[in-house]
Amino acid sequence: MAQAAPGAPRIDPVLAVLALAGAGSAFLVPFYQFAANRIVGGTSWFLIPASRSAALGVLLGWAGIAAFACLPPPVRQAAAARWAWLLVPVPVLAALAGAARISWVLAGHDAVARVTLGPGFWLTLLGALVAGIALPSGILVRALGLLPGLGLVLAGLSRGWFDALSLVREARSLGSAFGTEFARHLTLTGGAVLAGTVLGLALGLAAHRSPGWRLGGFFTLNFLQTVPSLALFGLLILPLAWLSTRFPALRAMGIKGIGPAPALIALSLYAALPIARNSLTALDEMPRAVLDAGRGMGMSEWQLGLGVVVPLAWPAVLAGIRTATVQTVGNTVVAALIGAGGLGTFIFQGLGQTAMDLVLLGTLPVVALALAVDQILGVLSRPRGTRP
């Protein structure tokens, strides 16, 4: 990673363009909007009159990234260069500080007026996200860059710094519902991934052993994958409703045509495919000579399985779980439509009321959750210096 690629360009084109676009979008596009209440349209504000100090912070962050992009390639690729990653949160924190300042001023004046975060803010956030991927980094640097900012935002939320932000006003009006649905979203996703993992591993193993399972099992899962999630939820309503009326015991367990039961079943089926496919590939590509040698030396099937097959297949299986989890976090949103709850509830409510802030309140945690899961599982699946 630290070796200088021979053809490295003098200026990093990705970062340079990103810094230019980031700075440009922050100043050329409205950054915040003010509205007198939830119903009326707002007036757009640019960053410069809204908050000069925030503008300075955003500009400094992007200028720093641009300067890094212009450093000589060997310096950019040195191990110490990963500390430049600390620049990534700067524009975002500055923009948030600006929002906090405006919101604080406003909150003193008016209990229903609100500040909405505008396109400029979201572009800044998006730019920082891409920069966070493009810049070299390590786990330690990322933690150092993200945790203080996160702490600051949480502290600000609890102290009311952001109270006039429309997002916060919407969340406040939801009360405990937000926490409940968030927890339900996590439960649905976690349960589906867990069941999908068991199902996927079993199917991968069965398909590896028998050609019948390989054909039939994968045909079914591939077919299900082409059915839109909403349609699959719908298709499950009828049989589950029938089962529920037929067997009171199932009804007592909460299994009905609508609600969490069909959602969990459908989500598990979707989650199973990437896991099954990855575990099958891993088993198929297990070097034959390794298994032959292991058996020939007198390892039992258990010793071979736990000592050799599982460790060699593990990275690929974990990659499948990672794909499945990220996918399920998003898929769970749709489950709200059949009464399973989750963050999708707010999204669909917001769409119904054309309240974009409510939609955002459902969307942002989903995005954050997907990113977090992807990062964490990505770190776990990193190989330990060995190559099969």
């Binding site: 000579a289 020939g296 210096g385």
Partner: protein, 320 residues
Amino acid sequence: MIAFEGVTHRYGATAALDGIDLALAEQELCILLGPSGSGKSTLLRLVNRLLEPACGRILVDGRDVRSYQPEALRRTIGYVIQDVGLFPHWKVWDNVATVPGLLGWERNRIAGRVEEVMDLVGLPARTYGDRYPHQLSGGEAQRVGVARALAADPPILLMDEPFSAVDPLGRHRIQGEFLEIQRRLKKTVLFVTHDVDEAVRLGDRIALLKEGRLVQYDRTEVLLEAPATPFVGEFLGLDRTLKRLSRIPASALARPGGPGDGDPPAAAALAEDLDLRLVLSHFLESGTDVVPLKNRQDRITGWLHRQDLEALARIGGAAP
């Protein structure tokens, strides 16, 4: 040590092996030679019960292999295969320690033994023990494979085309090294190959197989001198006389006293451990009829006459 009695094996309806009777001599290296599809690998894998025969029986140490528990049997037999099959996620040290670990040896004994066998194959544990298999060259990986097979000091080695995947130069070297190891350790070895040169170089005896049947089983010299069927002669090659000479050291034909008076300079002499094929090449090249032989200390130890060599080369010529 190892004996096959009327062994037949089938893959589906086709017979891969058909009534094989074969007894190995203890502490000898027996080559299973034959074209691909002749059943030589199948025969090898019957010994450690990776395959089971359709009929007939296989004896190890005079006991039917079916009377052993398969894993226990395999732990007492070294196993080396063409693609090595080192565990890619284990360091070289752990790979070599596999069988002693399975046998439940105590830690110190394993450590001592790993160092011993790694020295034996010329890869000191200090340098190579901490490497992962992907950091080894093909030749190094196969040396580790041999060390792993020898780790628990089994009396029997099964080797399935062990050096075929190594490049030709490296193969010649590793064959020489293995021959040295075998001279010291005297294992009973069953060695599969399709390479006649390798078979002639390494084998005490050769069993030639064709389409699942044993065609000829003899000491290597006998096989080269008197092929039992046209197929055997053809498979060994028209140069089988040269191959036979390649197994005999020059010292075997040395006679005291030379043609002239006094000893010639050592520079004109050939090393006495050269094989007779190379001596013949020397005669052809130089046009001489007699050449002095020297030992490692450059002392003249005898003379080799061309007529002796030719007499030996003639079919039926007296073997030394």
